[in-house]
């Protein structure tokens, strides 16, 4: 691999790494929201006496 190709690869890897970090953040957020929905559903059932 030439020096230029290394720099090109590095630039594309920056984008890939950013996308992966973004994906991880979104996945963590979805997991948190899912847990919150479960908690709120339980709280609603208790409040309505279900």
């Amino acid at each position: 691999m030439t020096t230029a190709e290394k720099y090109v690869t590095a630039a594309y890897l920056v984008l890939l790494a950013a996308l992966l970090v973004y994906l991880v953040i979104i996945a963590l957020k979805v997991a948190r929201l899912e847990q919150e929905i479960v908690d709120l559903t339980r709280a609603a059932r208790e409040k309505l006496g279900g």
């Binding site: 720099y7 090109v8 630039a11 594309y12 920056v14 950013a18 973004y22 979104i26 919150e36 409040k47």
Partner: protein, 225 residues
């Protein structure tokens, strides 16, 4: 229904166009302009233009908020600016990598294009500090909208300053005589730009949906308390 269909179209376009741009850049004309590092152009410039588009879209939503007073525009403006800052950071990273190879330096303070982009990036990075320094509510939404609108004026300033004052190292490929590149390079560039914009649109939808669900859950929690 239309929203879901356009969302799927955005995902499809991003998935098809982004790898296609990489493949065309790698195999169709791999050593354009005699510079093997030129392929970064297909990544760096679309990312920079996407950052501008996100800031512009955020400002448009801010204007709509100030014009109509409809509060949902605040979240939309905030999400677009958040994405703009991410794409802005990527522009700075990919640009620095290209500069290191081509100019032998990571950064040049003498380059107006670079410094103006950095000012724009720092301006919008400060948006979050301003936003979270005030309590949630109408005042925060108005302040954020005004700030977002001010920031977008830096985009034409940055374009004009480069064209009026000239440039030392950073090339200007889009002049009033059209794009200064061959049709093959321009085609790959358009494919990459389309892919990047589709990616930004997809991320915007995902992030906005997450923030809306978050807000609804917060409201529900308050109702159940």
């Amino acid at each position: 229904m239309v929203g879901a269909a356009s969302g799927r179209l955005g995902v499809l376009l991003a998935v098809v166009l982004l790898p296609l741009g990489v493949l065309l850049g790698a195999f169709w004309i791999p050593e354009a302009k005699g510079d093997p590092s030129f392929r970064i152009f297909y990544l760096h410039v679309p990312i920079a233009l996407t950052a501008y588009a996100c800031f512009g879209y955020g400002a448009w939503k801010a204007l709509r908020l100030l014009w109509t007073g409809e509060r949902h525009y605040d979240l939309e403006s905030y999400t677009a600016i958040h994405l703009g800052v991410i794409f802005g950071l990527l522009t700075l990273f990919t640009g620095s990598i290209w500069a290191k190879y081509t100019w032998g330096i990571w950064w040049s303070w003498g380059e107006r294009q670079l410094v103006l982009f950095l000012i724009l990036f720092l301006f919008y990075s400060s948006y979050f500090m301003l936003r979270y320094s005030t309590e949630p509510g109408a005042r925060r939404e108005r302040n954020s909208a005004v700030y977002a609108l001010f920031g977008v004026t830096l985009i034409p300033v940055s374009f004009l300053a480069i064209r009026i004052a000239g440039t030392i190292l950073h090339p200007t490929v889009f002049t009033h005589e059209g794009p200064q590149m061959t049709w093959q390079i321009f085609t790959i560039f358009l494919v990459s730009l389309g892919g990047m914009l589709a990616l930004a649109a997809t991320l915007y939808r995902v992030e906005l949906a997450g923030k809306r669900v978050d807000a609804s859950l917060r409201e529900l929690r308050e109702l159940l308390a």
